[in-house]
């Protein structure tokens, strides 16, 4: 009897203490496609977090974490689903860091993540539609929903005393969702939207679109498009005909190439892009540069997404998605000791010791509602032909 008890005790201890294992995280991003210039640094940032955890040797009794990359293509849902399926069934990843664009993220969530019960943390899918998607508690994102960006832009417009605006958006899920969010927020706060018209990307001539926008009028023109695409064409045509002088630029329009292409005429325009002035952002930038990564848009969010997955595993004492999915919100939010980038080892130790942590990370992560970032935005002002930071919201 004594022996049996001992043996039982030994087996239970073994299962709780957990053997060191090789944990795999699928890094599914659009390495080819329209945002391929961003995904390189995004994946490297996520892998930086994994390396940090592996080197610390403190995750689940010294487990190592390796990244398995898969290409989401950003636009092709079938290809993204196939890539995710491969990672889950053949590479046996424990969780997915991704995907990047809203459309493919939704497809992977429904077809692969829910079917196999795998946790997904997206660093950059911003469509408001994902907030209400069925996810069985498996989907999180470190990027804010565009519903939040609409509120921020509406606040900026009211602060600047703008009474009426015209909106033009790129004709896809991102543009339409963002335009609707801006319109509903702004109208709720008493502003007037004179027209909300779509434009197609990749055309040479936008004079007809600008003609209609100009006739509707408005103090400023909100351009919810892409900076290398139709968004630039609309701005150029508006300036040429004298239809609008000031433009509001949401995140798809923020980049160095736009002020460079348009020139000084863009001075005085303003916009928003996800970002924080938290200490975490600085620390992350320094760490990333030291590791040879050039941080770009959504790199910090990628680091945070990977970090949250691993911290939640530690908190649950298991690398299985079913076990740790409920822990992600816990490690991301207060109460607990605040954790900055580069302190993942310390965080793992604290969790192992049974203490609470509040992961702040590179983007001041605060998960709300169905598991998405509350959203911190950088207000951009174009000045002297450059994007400058006016303030943080």
């Amino acid at each position: 009897m004594k022996k049996l008890v001992l043996a039982l005790a030994a087996t239970t201890m073994m299962s709780t203490a957990a053997f060191a294992e090789d944990i795999k995280i699928g890094t599914i991003l659009g390495y080819t496609g329209p945002i391929e210039s961003l995904t390189g640094p995004m994946a490297e940032s996520a892998e930086l977090a994994m390396k940090e955890v592996t080197d610390s040797g403190k995750l689940l009794g010294g487990s190592t974490v390796t990244s398995v990359r898969g290409d989401s293509t950003c636009v092709d849902a079938a290809a993204a689903t196939a890539a995710a399926e491969r990672l889950v069934t053949s590479d046996k990843v424990n969780a997915i860091m991704g995907a990047d664009c809203s459309g493919v993220t939704g497809a992977i969530l429904q077809n692969v993540a829910r079917a196999n019960g795998i946790v997904m943390v997206s660093p950059s899918a911003t469509s408001p539609g994902l907030s209400t998607a069925e996810d069985d508690g498996l989907f999180f994102r470190t990027a804010p929903s565009d519903a939040r960006q609409g509120a921020v832009i509406s606040d900026i417009l009211n602060d600047k005393g703008v009474k009426s605006v015209a909106i033009t958006y790129t004709n896809n899920d991102y543009g339409k969702g963002l335009a609707e969010s801006i319109q509903s927020n702004y109208e709720a706060s008493g502003g007037k939207v004179t027209i909300s018209a779509a434009h197609e990307d990749g055309k040479g001539d936008y004079s007809a679109e600008v003609g209609a926008l100009a006739q509707a009028g408005g103090e400023v023109l909100i351009v919810a498009g892409y900076l290398d695409q139709g968004g630039k064409g609309v701005i150029q045509a508006s300036l040429d005909t004298g239809a609008f002088d000031t433009f509001v630029l949401p995140d798809g329009m923020i980049g160095d190439s736009l002020p460079k292409a348009i020139g000084s005429a863009l001075d005085g325009s303003y916009g928003t892009v996800p970002g924080t002035d938290s200490k975490g952002a600085e620390v992350f930038d320094a760490n990333a540069k030291a590791a040879g990564i050039k941080p770009d848009a959504f790199s910090a969010e990628s680091y945070d997404a990977a970090a949250l997955i691993m911290l939640a595993m530690q908190a649950a004492g298991s690398s299985k998605s079913a076990d740790f999915k409920s822990k992600i919100m816990d490690v991301a939010n207060a109460p607990g000791e605040q954790i900055l980038p580069g302190e993942l080892g310390k965080a793992l130790e604290l969790i192992a010791a049974g203490k609470d942590i509040d992961y702040v990370g590179a983007t001041a992560v605060e998960l709300i509602g169905p598991g998405e970032s509350a959203g911190n935005y950088r207000e951009i002002l174009v000045k002297g032909g450059e994007n400058t930071t006016a303030k943080f919201r």
């Binding site: 027209i195 018209a197 004079s207 003609g211 209609a212 006739q215």
Partner: protein, 336 residues
């Protein structure tokens, strides 16, 4: 004063952009119509020919800019235009020798030519992306405006501004010169007359001793020149992106068919019909009416007939109507 304001408004947003776009379409449609008249097929590779010529112009413009050559207020690209035209001529003559000549010997039907030109289009497509890439290129330099909306307002004291871009001015000017030169060539010179004869009746032309190879060669040369000029003007006014040249092929064909395929005069008329109908139908007349009507009648809506999303639909609706009512086009070209 209100009437003046309404006119200025219309000019700024409808007439000037429509005029410029019409000129660009007309030059493109002239090339299509020439090939149709002489070689009797719809050349689908025309949009890519425009892109290829423009690409050559851009490359030479960069070289000139590197040497520090400039034309002052006028874009340097105009100086590079002859080189671009030469490159396009070379390309078209080589494709004629390698591809179309074979089908001429076979006396193939127009449909076979058309499919062959589709293949040629894809080849040009790849060639252009191989040389200059798929990205947006801006190669305009010099003065941007002849006068800006603000200058116009200050000079006239009107409420509404009107701007006139340098590239718009150049487009109209160059188009007038090209069209005049082309018509002079077709009606006054011996070669031009032989081309028209060949187009009207091939057998009679051959009997009267017109050399068909020469006529075909000159048709390609003229087409290359027109395509390069049209493409460069379009690129200067907007920006050069290979993909947009594939798209502009549709309105160009619409223009050529509406005007009457094979009729140069029709190509020009068709270009302007398509361009103006696109802007006129999708323009919002709210403010124009606001100036013209008494205050009590001022419209509260946008007074827009069709959303700008349907811009392309307009030119195709016109195309369908013309084909139904008058299949030969406005100027009685060949029916297809």
């Amino acid at each position: 004063m209100d009437i003046l304001n309404a006119f200025v408004l219309l000019f700024n947003f409808v007439v000037i952009p429509g005029l410029t776009y019409g000129c660009q379409l007309a030059l493109g449609a002239l090339g299509v119509t020439l090939i149709y008249g002489i070689l009797r097929f719809s050349n689908f590779a025309h949009g890519e020919t425009m892109a290829f010529g423009t690409m050559a112009v851009i490359l030479f413009t960069w070289l000139l800019q590197g040497w520090g050559v400039s034309l002052g207020p006028v874009p340097t690209a105009l100086l590079a235009l002859p080189v671009g035209i030469l490159c396009a001529i070379l390309l078209l003559l080589v494709s004629d020798k390698l591809v179309y000549k074979f089908y001429r010997k076979q006396k193939s039907t127009p449909v076979i030519y058309l499919i062959a030109s589709l293949g040629v289009m894809f080849f040009y497509n790849g060639l252009i992306r191989f040389v200059i890439g798929p990205d947006d290129r801006i190669f305009t330099d010099g003065e941007r405006f002849i006068f800006t909306a603000r200058q116009f307002k200050e000079a006239t004291g009107l409420e509404q501004g009107m701007s006139f871009k340098m590239t718009q001015g150049i487009t109209v000017f160059v188009t007038v010169i090209c069209v005049a030169a082309l018509f002079w060539f077709l009606t006054k010179t011996r070669t031009g007359k032989s081309m028209r004869a060949y187009s009207d009746n091939e057998d009679l032309a051959l009997l009267s001793g017109i050399n068909p190879d020469r006529v075909v060669m000159i048709a390609w040369i003229l087409t290359a020149a027109l395509a390069t000029i049209a493409g460069t003007l379009y690129g200067l006014d907007k920006s050069f992106k290979p993909f947009t040249y594939l798209q502009i092929l549709l309105p160009i064909f619409a223009a050529a068919i509406v005007g009457g395929l094979g009729s140069p005069l029709g190509a020009i008329a068709g270009g302007f019909v398509i361009a103006f109908s696109e802007v006129f139908v999708t323009f919002a007349y709210k403010r124009v009416l606001g100036y013209l009507l008494p205050e009590s009648l001022e419209p509260s809506g946008l007074v827009q007939l069709l959303s700008t999303d349907y811009k392309f639909a307009v030119s195709f609706a016109i195309l369908v109507i013309v084909l139904l009512v008058r299949p030969t086009g406005i100027f009685r070209g060949q029916s297809i």
